[in-house]
Symmetry: D2
Subunit: 231 residues, 4 copies
Amino acid sequence: MGVGKFSDPFLLINFKTYLEAAGKRAVELARIVEKVGKSNDVRFGVAPQFCDIAQVASAVEIPVFAQHIDPIPPGAFTGHVLAESVKAAGASGTVINHSERNIQLIDIDACVRRAREIGLSTIVCAGTSKLAAAVALTEPDMVAIEPPELIGSGRAVSKERPEIVSDSVRKIRGTNPNVRILCGAGITTGEDLYAALKLGAEGVIVASGVAKSLKPESVLFEFSQAVRRFL
Amino acid sequence: MGVGKFSDPFLLINFKTYLEAAGKRAVELARIVEKVGKSNDVRFGVAPQFCDIAQVASAVEIPVFAQHIDPIPPGAFTGHVLAESVKAAGASGTVINHSERNIQLIDIDACVRRAREIGLSTIVCAGTSKLAAAVALTEPDMVAIEPPELIGSGRAVSKERPEIVSDSVRKIRGTNPNVRILCGAGITTGEDLYAALKLGAEGVIVASGVAKSLKPESVLFEFSQAVRRFL
Amino acid sequence: MGVGKFSDPFLLINFKTYLEAAGKRAVELARIVEKVGKSNDVRFGVAPQFCDIAQVASAVEIPVFAQHIDPIPPGAFTGHVLAESVKAAGASGTVINHSERNIQLIDIDACVRRAREIGLSTIVCAGTSKLAAAVALTEPDMVAIEPPELIGSGRAVSKERPEIVSDSVRKIRGTNPNVRILCGAGITTGEDLYAALKLGAEGVIVASGVAKSLKPESVLFEFSQAVRRFL
Amino acid sequence: MGVGKFSDPFLLINFKTYLEAAGKRAVELARIVEKVGKSNDVRFGVAPQFCDIAQVASAVEIPVFAQHIDPIPPGAFTGHVLAESVKAAGASGTVINHSERNIQLIDIDACVRRAREIGLSTIVCAGTSKLAAAVALTEPDMVAIEPPELIGSGRAVSKERPEIVSDSVRKIRGTNPNVRILCGAGITTGEDLYAALKLGAEGVIVASGVAKSLKPESVLFEFSQAVRRFL
């Protein structure tokens, strides 16, 4: 189940390498995300660790994203992350160039092409509006603008630095009219999400706000209400 | 099920990022490896891709190794491989510093410590006898000497360059009397394996010789016979 | 002495880590480049190794470029290449993201900003027209399109794949109307250079064609004639 | 002028990428180091940035070290640091694997071999006694133990953590009886240096303690007195 076909906002929950969202707890959290999404008719996706993709993907029907792939073909690449393997495990997409896993420009392009080749959706991240417009030229399905200085800060990009979001939307549209635009960093409340959508974002990436929350279900419900209010 | 407690040779089958050993075929191959091992009372392990660990580990009881881990604690490390996650998926160990995934010396040490902390066995690879002796100082459970120029060559290190194996055994023993010593590169026949054991190796790593074989079961059986002949 | 102010084509001779263009031979080659450039009123620059910058820059007046800088401020960064140090040695610019020294997208941007901060010209390289347009968004002084598969091949990008050059010019102009556009890879003759200029390139990067030539003076003279013919 | 032949302590002043020790100030500082060394008959060396090597080496006769080299042969390696180039610029040695420029284990070995091939002395750094013993197996001329947590701290390894130094000496001797053993991190006073020598170090690496000092000459004099007292 892809996300490209929906005009509704897309919310990706990034599990990072949090213990709170690893192993069995990855499956549990993914189920909660799916449940709240279904109840409220909101499009959520989850990005668990590589080792959790198979179990998460067999437990839920919402889109599952890898957090990274390597720009390699099948072959002798011990210890690398092969796009085909990610897909076989049940993922429908992958994050590329997250600020915690920056890669070379040439590899961003190669990863987008590899993913497209085998039918994985792509979200390429960038930390500034300029770089977001640059990566949009590699023609991924989605671009995510996430200022690294706000990631994990609890201060939402859409509230603290709204101009980064609106500026990114404008610049990205200048290089790629079709890419879906996400934003992220510090988003923890419905208000943060609502503000992001109002600024032109077509979705968000949220990590600790959900994955480290004591009440992820409440946060997800609040996000859902914000989406419904926006639509 | 660990491997450190056995005095018998240990044979790790590295699935690399071969399509022939990915997804469902990873599970099938792991089952074949387990079956041949059980029938012949030979200790095999498998090292599938990250995304396949969970499914392989739930299908077989033999040791499952990750092909790599990152030297990170739990936290905000999107796209990295967390030791805890590898273990939660069912792996009992990990390969570190494979020649196709070389890491910094400081990270070899950090990975060995992280793995030990949470109870994962470790196999640290090195390409020369000198470097094998060096990595043995980080006190992993196993050290694997694999000359990169012979990897995937079909020319076995134990036949083509037997002195590398014997020299490694001697040098590794000089820095670490307890570590289990494996060798690898080009091993495809029972003779290759037998020669390796005769030279002092206490196990081997085999990749394409099994994973890309049209008859993996035959190759594994031949390996088993070589082990039984050696014991 | 910068290059940005000239509307004439700019030809950068990349000395790479060729022994033929290192140490004293770097100084000699730079002198030949300068001499031919002056005699024919053609704008040349040279990019020697880091350790040769000071001696080359004190021997010639043409622009000297570093082959790379690191995206670091002054401080505790042992073994890195500081923009200020490159400039103090006499360089007036730097190459960034050469295909033999690819860096992360985030670092391309950081290097361009660091260089601009202290007054170094920048040439950012990219291997495809799409990526050339992407790096142009970081607003360097120059962008160089160099398809890696043709680098060092002796087959000129401007003759073998003219559409790459024209396509790059068009795409780069779409993201940055002011950047100077260079091309490179396989350029060894005056004809190759002339073709590049005709396709819209405003300069070229040449390495082995000059640095490994037995008669660099002849090659440089041929280049100069091609420039004069074009103007 | 090498350092391997002296049984006297060797003190390397690492200029890092400090502005206070770059460009002309690198030459000035190197001259001060040389002057104090000569007056007091103490063996000093300096490790300026790549771009400063040529000017420093032509201004002083004491050993000049590069801060890093890349494990490459001459050829098409734009932006890399070639051992031959470092030597041609006047360096007599190179630091390898500084904690601010960690490299892969395989590259430590390759760098030591490349340096030896062309006659550059080598100092391989490591952050723990165990890793210091490991790198000693690559047979460099010197091994430097520098706990990263104390680098730049002003708290000397030899005073704060004397057991790290003595332990390193013992472990390094276990793998390599001939290598010269240096220590570093936080050394700023004559007492710190004296303590290091007493613990078995045969030299030290000092960076900010000299390079960022307002009175480098005094610090160097104090170091010299400590050496003379020790001998």
